[in-house]
């Protein structure tokens, strides 16, 4: 049985828990797979370490946490240092190239582009950086189709911001493909 494990890690307030939820929702509601999302975070509302974990499978999922990570998003240097050693051989690491300057080494593929800056400058709002990152993770992991992931994004954000999030998602998707080519 296929078990695919993703971890979205960084700092509280970066929207990583939301990104994880949307990824899991895409798999579980739109892609017809099974998915579990769980999280851990500190007592702070902002700052502090934050992570969101998503397990995707064709069958029932028992243990809801990451055992050996297939795909890791690290939005801080601290998260990159802490979690990259859990990555499977052949796994994929996505980092924000402005925030993670010391690139972790290992038997995995590293993809990097300026995620927050893409949100700020190309999409126009820094707040959608998590959706840029999500678009990139969808492209890099191939666990859900681009269409289903986009549906999950659009069903999860306020109506007034549909276009903004759609743009953020596409931008992340395209940039990740370009960066990993």
């Amino acid at each position: 049985m296929s078990r695919y494990e993703l971890r979205f890690s960084g700092a509280g307030g970066q929207g990583l828990i939301t990104a994880g939820i949307i990824m899991a929702k895409a798999a579980s509601i739109y892609e017809g797979k099974q998915a579990v999302q769980s999280q851990s975070y500190g007592p702070e509302a902002r700052g502090g370490a934050s992570k969101s974990e998503v397990i995707i499978s064709d069958g029932p999922i028992d243990y809801p946490k990451v055992t050996q990570c297939d795909a890791l998003l690290a939005m801080t240097q601290e998260a990159a240092n802490k979690y990259s050693h859990d990555l499977k051989e052949g796994g994929v690491l996505l980092i924000d190239s402005d925030l993670v300057v010391k690139i972790p080494e290992g038997n995995f593929k590293t993809v990097s582009f300026p995620i927050i800056n893409t949100a700020k400058n190309d999409v126009g709002r820094e707040i959608v950086a998590n959706i840029v990152a999500l678009g990139a993770m969808v492209a890099l992991t191939g666990q859900v189709s681009r269409e289903n992931a986009e549906k999950a994004v659009l069903s999860s954000v306020p109506e007034a911001f549909l276009e903004l999030n759609k743009k953020a998602f596409s931008m992340g998707y395209e940039k990740a493909l370009a960066a990993s080519a």
Binding site: S28, I29, S38, S40, Y41, P43, D62, Y63, K65
Partner: protein, 377 residues
Amino acid sequence: MSKKVAFLQGNEAAAHGALYAGCNFFGGYPITPSTEVAEVMSVELPKIGGKFVQMEDEIGAMAAILGASLAGSKVLTSTSGPGLSLKQELIGYGCIAEIPCVVYNVMRGGPSTGMPTGPSQSDVMAAKWGTHGDHPAICLVPASVQETYEEVIRAFNLSEKYRTPVMVMPDEIVAHMRERIVFPEQGEVEVVSRKSPSVSPEQYKPYDTSFGDVPPLASFGSGYKFHVTGLNKMQDGFPTTKAEIVQAEEERQVRKVEANADDIVTFEEYQLDDADVVVIAYGSTSRSARYAVNAAREQGLKAGMFRIKTFWPFPDKQIKALAGKVKGFIVPEMNLGMCANEVERCAQGKAPIHGIFRVDGEPINPDQILDKMKEVK
């Protein structure tokens, strides 16, 4: 095939389960990691004419639901460790005055403020012994989002049927985890309501045992007047110190739950037929255990799991029976051995018990359990 599905968190599912069961009053005080229950109830209850009250603290919240229940509402409060400690005096009041209510408590690290965002399973003894005195205890420990929804419905049904407080205690992992949930249609799952009096207001006694161990409960405001107190009481609800009455009433209150253990206790047996190493687990820890059992089976080990779904009453009978058949029990839990002690009591020395106890805010991972299985073999 057109059943409503959603991708929900355990806490959100709990709130929707309560609404399905007919909950129309919520009294609470927000606390991590249970606040989402209050959030959903505050949005949904006004839509159906129910009442949501955020009280001044957890004690007030518990008092509010007891009062609302006596007025005929189906009631819920949600909280976590420190809030549970505060509610304990009034949970005892609910037990002795026999007031149906559901207390949903998400287990986080403790004691005291402990670790607000960290998972734990260390409130399971507080569910039985947190309030003083002999009293009945029912406590359900779900392991998934769907099960949290279903067990909250069952908690309401049990509290109404047995006229007593019922606790639902997911650990923080189950409470905050998100999974797909399929909602039942109206009428698909049984919903139980308390027995109303069949006698006139003049003849009514709130603890009239001629109707059995669970006397009918009238609603305040419906024309029935009766006395409610935390003191030991007579059939009419007024206090007494008469030895034979107090003895009989205390015994009845415990008996109404204990004698119906077969109706209340639920569990899952996984790969037990030929198992010689049996993991006894509950809540999110049972998910690690299932993973470990599957991995062990692939390696040729005869491992199985007995999953506790109802922590109180404890599945004494089932564990006693298993103890005679296995080489050993493994009890993984996010506390320092609360369930293991109960297993030991049931096993009566017939099977060794190996604990895996974690209180560091991290889940017990499947490898820890698998390693222990190999030791026991």
